[in-house]
Amino acid sequence: MLKQRVAEAFNEPGCATNRGKSDQDRKRGCSSAALTPGAAAGGCAFDGAKVALQPITDAAHLVHGPIACEGNSWDSRHSATSGPQIYRTGFTTDMSELDVIHGGEKRLYTAIREIADRYRPAAIFVYVTCVPALIGDDVETVCTAATERFGLPVIPVDAPGFVGSKNLGNKLAGQVLLDRVVGTREPEKTTPYDINIIGEYNVAGDMWQILPLLDRLGIRVLASISGDARYHEIACAHRARANMVVCSQAMVSFARAMEDRYAIPYFEGSFYGISDMSAALREIARLLVDQGAPADLLTRTETLIAAEERAAWRQISVYRERLQGKRVLLYTGGVKSWSVVSALQEIGMTVIGTSVRKSTDDDKVRIKGLMGEDAALFGQIPAKDLYRMLAGDEADILMSGGRTQFVALKTKTPWLDINQERHHAYAGYEGMVSLVRQIDATIHHPVWRQVRAPAPWDKPGAGQ
């Protein structure tokens, strides 16, 4: 059954990469190539599923497995909440040797009961990890029994690590929501301005820079999937008028399925970069008006965009001169790196290279359009090569995720975190201003002069 779901997850007509593949390649899936023993990097399917669902803040997230799965990973994600805290608590069955021998179902059931009795969460998501999958724990049945017994949704998330990559886990999590949550409840009211935002996890509070803008336009986010979400909202998500997919590759299947089942149109967009932010607002307004919202939404949106863009550029202009011609190496797993590329170019920086690991062919064409035909587009850069590039002073700043942080720092190159672990919000107009401010502070930091200076004994003429 899981195998079938995995195959389905890979058979995504909405994915541009997939459309370009032969039948055989498509069957093989999109992430199998990355898993080379001894040369692999990145999280597993369980990791991906947890990333996608944990931001549902009023649910408890119970990891059924031995200590490594939750013990080594809890308390490490910065998806922010505006209220409930239960999602942060690390729950795990911490399977022992005896559980492996006798099966972990009984412990799992008791664990669910303990959580239900003590915390009364809106729902409990139960993550199946490799070991219970291997010994054949019937988590599905346990969850069904628990749902009836304890009177709250107990939802199995069947995405054990060994079925594939983090990206696959994202998709499997989306399917879980589609199959078991979306459409199970009805909202109290609906409006012509209801949308869902899909694939935005509110890292460092990103969403809070978008929501005030939507509020000003009278656009209501019915469900966020899943940043700062509440279970009930996702259960009602099928009543939205339009869907926006933010992290396209992982969640595009989700949006397409919602289009099929509930006739909700969707588009893929980004909140990063000024022009992308504006494009996203325009598209949301257009879809809503298409669906019957009053047409004045379009003009109101344009007015807001004009004012916001003006304000953002005014703030950014202070830095334009200071950042003119500075060379950026952009290395991110992020999907829409072109949106950041165009934003950086807009302020006069030179993007010397960018990664296109998760980009589609369309994305690559857009990047080439922006950076020229000889643009350096990277897949995975081995740490050794990255070190050589940075040590050779090929860039003034590396913007990447935590994985390459120390490669940059050891070469004494300015580094800026733009991934999940970051603490600054970069979404929206405000986010772009703060990104530029952060780039400026990083490149012009006083520490670089001192740490790059030679030690007294290495100075010419020293020690003689």
Partner: protein, 454 residues
Amino acid sequence: MNVAEIGTKACAVNPLKSSPALGGALAFLGVDKSLPLLHGSQGCTAFALVLLVRHFREAIPLQTTAMSELSTILGGAENIEQAIGNIFERANPKLIGLCSTALTETRDEDVRGDLRSIMLRHPEWNDLTVVHAPTPDFAGSLEVGWASAVQAMIDALVREERQTRILRQVNLLPASYMTPADVEAVRDVVESFGLSAIVLPDLSGSLDGHVPDEYVPTTLGGTPVDRVSDMGASQITLAIGEHMRGAAEALERRSGVPFKVFDRLIGLEAFDAFVETLIGLSGRPAPEPLRRERSRLVDAMLDGHFFFTGRTAAVAAEPDMLLAVTRFLDEMGCRIGAAVTTMKSPAAAKVPCDPVVVGDLDDLERLASSGDCDLIIANAHAAVAADAIGVPLYRMGFPVFDRLGAGHRVSVGYRGTRELLFDIGNIFIDHQTEHQPYQRQDREVASDASVISA
């Protein structure tokens, strides 16, 4: 004295434990030019890697055999072989530390046998040592994995015969909770007696946070692999913590090196015992700087004991660290109001608190709250518990990801104990219980009429 009480919950809430495989990897990171390899799905490595990076703020070389559903069922020998091949080509390490995980142990793979035939097939890997440490995630915690990896290295690298003893050479087996700076501090003391120490593992060489001149895909320092083989010729093995007893015994079994287990190096009395052993081994008097350090610690204890008296601490840590920290606090006059640990162990039984609970940080929160504790000592995850009950947290153990310099703190030896004493004493000073002011009844109040004008 007391029995460790096993928690009765089926669900661990805010776990205290990290996994044994992570502990095994950490031990292998203390060997020069090594690269640990977790035999499991790639998530096993990714989680461990992220946590180690957050704690040490260093690039951590750590690889995965990237087991899939299929290879788990059919057996992982092929993945191990491929992984070693890829690592050999890209990083060319001296040692690969292969740690199993719950995934591969559940299938009960014969990794040892597989490894033997793999190595036979590849004469080109002649200079490469691959050590396999069994570290199933469903049995034990970081401490157990650490000990397992050290013992595995001894079993794999120390010859099984009595060797000619090298005068003044001693083995030092640090405890899993010792920081790189702790290891360096103890080695310095050992060497100040004119002894030469083989430290296994030696995190002070690899994870002490330095800036190398070139890119190194493996560990960049630590115990050289060939020095591990030399351990069979040492005069004695000094093991720190009960969990290192097994490794010390293995060494004795193989090469007849006698051993001594010190249950802790935190505290005056505890470190005195260690120094006494060094005096006996070296036949030398204690060097002057060490005497001075001891005297400073004595002075610090005199100055500081007031602030520990009458206070109550809750401590959550792996058994051996729990023992070291609680005994020290006890010696300073601080009561242990709650003690939580990861598993049963002879060390836990010696903790001055009854009961010692095998549990999680949720248990710590409950016990610290009901036990009226003034301070929590635990890893950084305990911030949630400390916030919830409104007491300060002193971060110790693993992981500590929200403080700079987690690897640079010293808390063992005379100097380290003094630093620990100051750190904790200062928290107690900051959080003194103050008297509620009492308003005297019917107090005389100044009024215009009461002012006699001049």
